[in-house]
Amino acid sequence: MNTYGLREVRVKKFKRLPEYEYDVKRLRSREVRPKRSKRVDSAEQKKRKVASEDKYEVKKLKRKNSEDQCKVVDGVIEIFDDEYGDYSDKYEVKGIRRTDSEGVYKSVDGVVKIFEDDDEGDYGDDIEDEGDCNDDGGFEEDDEDWCLNDTDKSDDDSREKCYTVLIEDDIRQQQQEDITQVTNTLSISRVSATILLRHYNWDVEKAHEAWFTTEEKVRKDVGLLEEQVVRIHNMENIIKCSVCFDDFDCDDMSAANCGHLFCESCWTQYISMKINDGPECLMLRCPNPSCPVAVGQDMVNKFVSDEDKEKYSNYLYRSYVEDKRKMSKWCPGPGCEFAIEFVAGSSSYDVVCGCGHRFCWNCVEDAHRPVDCDTVRKWVLKNTAESENVTWILANSKSCPKCKRPIQKNEGCMHMVCQCKFHFCWLCLGDWNNHGEETGGYYACNIYEKVRSGGVYDEEEKIKNKAKDYLDKYAFYYERFEENQKSRLKAIESLKKIQSEGLVKLSDKYGLPETELGYITDAWQQIIECRRVLKWTYAYGYYLPPSEHVKKQFFECLQGEAESALERLHQCAEKDLRKYLEEDGALYYDTFPIKLVDLTVLKSKLVNLTGTTRNYFESLVRALENGLSDVGTQ
């Protein structure tokens, strides 16, 4: 799989309204199978695959909901208007493999789906069948490639993609499907099925199994009654509500399946309070203290305000992802509403959400491959820890020998004058009056040197030096870690700017369609990804034991090579490109061929550097992931 570069598709509308540009993100593929296997050669299969399972989100789409015919020609999607038969929009999809086909385009709430115009019936079934008969569980894998800005053509470092990005609609749909399944299999109401599933953390298998083995017990644990209890009314039909202690007519009261009657106002208050207490409301029970019967969504909807209903249903929805902690998690990206479903036992924890956020599925930190989660945790903790401050003070300040005030030396010679007017030598902390030519003058102190060379270390000095070494080391790695992070963020900005302005400008200036400028985006995506990897290698380096000399050397060599390649690439993508952008277009307007030649130079340089950098980083990542085992432990 593509290792470096965001999994994102850009679609540009370039006909008619050139000023419009749409960002299209691939949202998900419906199913990702963990097994990886060979490519499927049949173009027909691939076509149908693409058609049936891909969804795009088109931002700023004017028509929110529509269904039209579409035609794909040379990677450009033309969308026809039903009524007039006249095409109204054209989209270009980069990296599309299916170059020519016709289909139906459908957009719902800004999400575009393209279906094959093919009446062989149910796509889902087709996919399943093909998957089975080819013994090929993994062609979604391949399918993934086509929609990427595929910077990674080499497959050697590819990894299985073992997760699925879920959007809200999918989650809700899956949840409803699970409920339906349980409802049908166990012949219980939807509300009961929901309560049951919630109890078993939305594990359908587990719920079924428990139900079929010990239905009695499960019913008791979960609070589901076999039958609704019918209350036999007494003569007067007047009952005291045991919450507010007021008397009510039976008909004005309500009960869950257990038949414990409470007045409607008390029900409303009770349920609404529980909902506002948090997600625990999903475990709502009958208010009667000795009654274990569960109160489901039907009762909630009957009594509470729309706002509370919404809250409840939201808790229910969120619990579907949160309860399945081992299988699904919310994307931690800011403001992101997607969830990630993960297939256990995968080799890599790195996950890219539909929002573009890359994170580690295991520890939910930003993606940190090739460094492991433990190292990252230690590093992150260290970066925030107060202990670093203490170490800093210890290492960078000395106390005045007379008044003990802590002093930081920021410049100048060793002759110190404290606020208490005491003159002393910074090195040996002795009185300055005892210093002069014979002790080394203003810039050195023989007393200090003599003591040091004689190995007579002051205990305090020893601690201080140790602390300083330690701090120096940390500062070294931390600084580089931070620099790469900053540089990465800046690169993301640059890429955005290039995508929004630069490419158009270049394409205007050099008369090339933007499709041919993909290598520029590729280069920038490579830079962003490499900065990320490089950043984490500094955390790795910090924790590499100093005793492992050979490994350290090997690591530093690999890191150095990768870093210098990246610097060259970054330089080219930043500085060289700027030259092309800045140059006065008019100057070359009459000499069209020269311009092309110039861009060719840029292209070959960029493509070359992108490739080299990727190779260096791949070997760096591989080496770190196998614990630098290519060189032996000393």
């Binding site: 919450v243 507010c244 202690f245 007021d246 009770y270 309070m273 208010p287 009667n288």
Partner: protein, 157 residues
């Protein structure tokens, strides 16, 4: 606010009626504030608390009965689930397992039941909990008995 007041007023009336019915519990409402109650409960028989009279203080929240009242012992008591200094009580129905159908009266009954059946695994009074957990029933009983005699029984003479 009005709902809780109305409900407490009804409970007050019930209490007047039930006084005879349950001689172990005597619930008294504060003269000026219906949200403050005190109760005198008798230590259950066949326990080290037998013969003692323990005073409880109730602070009822405005959301009552949707939220539980806060209850603590005013009388010193040696019991695994009661804080020795503050009198705070660790009882599930006063926290998560609260139901709006509970009353102050039934809370008192639950506390009497707790006195008879201490839960040594979730102790607020660790010394007492440890005695029970290590199987030193005699040690626990004599300590509890001593404090009952000291704090919960009328002084002789």
């Amino acid at each position: 606010m009005q709902a809780s007041r109305a409900r407490l007023f009804k409970e007050y009336k019930e209490v007047q009626r039930e006084k005879v019915a349950d001689p172990d519990i005597q619930l008294v409402c504060d003269d000026t504030n219906i949200f403050k109650w005190t109760a005198l409960i008798k230590g259950p028989s066949e326990t080290p608390y037998e013969g003692g009279v323990f005073q409880l203080a109730f602070a009822v929240p405005e959301q009552y009965p949707l939220q539980p009242p806060q209850v603590r012992f005013l009388t010193k008591i040696f019991h695994p689930n009661v804080h020795f200094k503050t009198g705070e009580i660790c009882l599930d129905i006063l926290k998560t397992a609260w139901s709006p159908a509970w009353t102050l009266q039934s809370v008192c009954r639950a506390i009497i039941a707790l006195m008879a059946h201490p839960e040594a695994d979730s102790p607020l009074n660790c010394d007492s909990g440890n005695l029970l957990r290590s199987g030193d029933l005699r040690g626990y009983q004599s300590m509890a008995r001593m404090y009952t005699k000291l704090a919960a029984m009328p002084k002789k003479g």
